[in-house]
Amino acid sequence: MRERYDILVVGAGPAGIAAATRAAESGKRVGLVDDNFAPGGQIWRGAESASSDIAASWYARLAKARITKLQGWRIFSQPAPGVLRAERNGDYIDLGYDKLILATGARERFLPFPGWTLPNVLGAGGLQALVKSGLPIAGKRVVVAGSGPLLPAVAAYLRKHGARVAAICEQASFSRLAQFATSLVTHPDKLQQAAVYRWQTRGARYHTSCRPVAAHGQGELESVTLRKGSREWTVACDYLACGFHLVPNTELAELLGCAIASGNVKVDEWQATSIPGIYCAGEPTGIGGLELSLMEGEIAGYSASGQTAKAGVLHRKRDKLQKFADRLEATFALDPALRELPQSDTIVCRCEDVRFAAMAQSSSWRAAKLQTRCGMGPCQGRVCGPAAEFLFHWRAESIRPPVFPAPLSGLTEKAQLHTV
C-alpha cells in the first residue's frame, strides 16, 4: 500500500487522458481524477461508444493502461503540499502525489445582454452538453450565437439530433474568418471539418459580425433579437445557445502558485509550470483545440514520467499546432462593440444578481466584489469574472481556497487518505 501517486493527473479530457496514458507507459503509479461522471471532458462527453476514430483510439489506450481512475471527484483545496483534497457527494479524499499534471480544460466565455438569464438561454457548449446527457432536442428551434469554432460544431451536432437551427451568429467579421480559412491550407483536415459542418448545417444562415442583443420571454425564452451592422431582427426560438469562445480554467494552477501569463498557465517546452513537479497541458496553457491538447498531454505525460526523449520528439508537431492556436485567438478576438451589449439593469453576476450599473461604478474587480458582492457567489466569478475583464478591463486577483464551494467540514476535518 502506498499513500502517494507517482503522477496524479487532474482532468480526464483529451489532454488528461493523453497525459495519464503516456505517463503510465513508464510503469509509474498514475492516478487520473475528474469531476464528470465519465472521462472525455467536454469535447468527448458521451462519445465512448460512437465517435471519431481519434476518440476511440484514446479510449482504447486509456482502458488498457494501468491507471487508477477516480471519476466524479472534484478537487477543491490543497490541505498540505503534495496533497489535493477532492469531494464527491459529500465524501472527501486526499490524493497525494510526487508529480502533478493539470489538465483542467476550459469553459465558455459568457457575455451579459438583456434576457441572458432566462431559462433556455445556455452556452453553446452548454446546450450541447445537456443534449449529450439526454435532453431531447428534436424539433426544437435553436439559435446558436457568440463566437468561436465551437458554434458551427454545436450547430451541426444539434441538427444531427433533430434540432431546427434557425441561425448561427458569429461576432467575428467575414474578413477575419476568410483570412483564417485561407491559413488553414496547411491544416487540410481542419478545412475538411469546416466543410462538413457547413454541409451539416445547410439551410441555417451563418451570419458574421452578428450578435444577440436581447433575449425575450416570460419566465422562459421565446425569441431573440439579433443585430448585424444597423440591421436588427427577431427570431422565435426554444433555445439560445450562446458562448463567446473559451477561457482557460486556471484556478487550480493559480491556487498551487503556478505563474500565469496573459491569462494562461505559463509552461516551458516540457509542459512544466513555474512550480517544480507541476505540469500543465491542454486549454489552460492557451486555447488551442483538440489536437494541441492531445499533443501537450502526451508531452506532459512523458516529461513527468522521465521519458524526455519521447517528449522531445513531439516538440515540432506541437509548435506547428501552436501556430494554429495563435491564429484562432486572433480570428475570434472579441469586437469592442460587444461591450455595449449590457444595459444598465442587465445582470452581470448571476449568482448574486449584480447589475451592470452597480458594477460600472467600481474602479476594480476587487472594489466591485467588496461593494457589490459580484463574483462572491458559488461560481466564484468563473462566469462574471471573464465578462468583467472584457467589459471593464479588470484583472481578477489572487485565488483563494477552496477553488470550488465546499462545506466547512471539508476544510477543517481530516479526510481519508486515498491509498494507491
Binding site: 472534484r74 452548454g126 445537456l130 461560481c379 462566469v383
Partner: protein
C-alpha cells in the same frame, strides 16, 4: 437493469432513459432549477459544473449540481 427509470420533478413523475443527467430531466419536465436572489427563475447555463445555475434539491439535499448528476430510480428532484 431497466433502460428507463422513473423519478419525480417537483412531485410529478417523469420517465427518462438511463444515463440522463438530472439537469436534463428538469429541463425535459419544463421546470426551472432555482430561483435567484432577486427572484428570477433560472435553468442550466454551462452544462459542465462551473456556473452553479443548475442547483436544485435532490433527495432532500439542496444545492446539488444537477448537470453532473445522473438520474436514479425513485429520485426526488425539487426546484430550489
Amino acid at each position: 437493469m431497466p433502460d428507463r427509470i422513473v423519478l419525480t420533478v417537483n412531485g410529478h413523475a417523469l420517465s427518462v432513459e438511463r444515463g440522463m443527467s438530472v439537469a436534463a430531466a428538469i429541463m425535459t419536465a419544463g421546470a426551472h432549477c432555482r430561483t435567484s436572489v432577486s427572484g428570477e427563475l433560472r435553468g442550466p447555463l454551462c452544462g459542465m459544473g462551473i456556473c452553479f445555475e443548475c442547483r436544485a434539491t435532490v433527495n432532500g439535499v439542496p444545492h446539488s449540481r444537477t448537470c453532473q448528476m445522473l438520474c436514479e430510480q425513485g429520485m426526488e428532484v425539487v426546484s430550489q
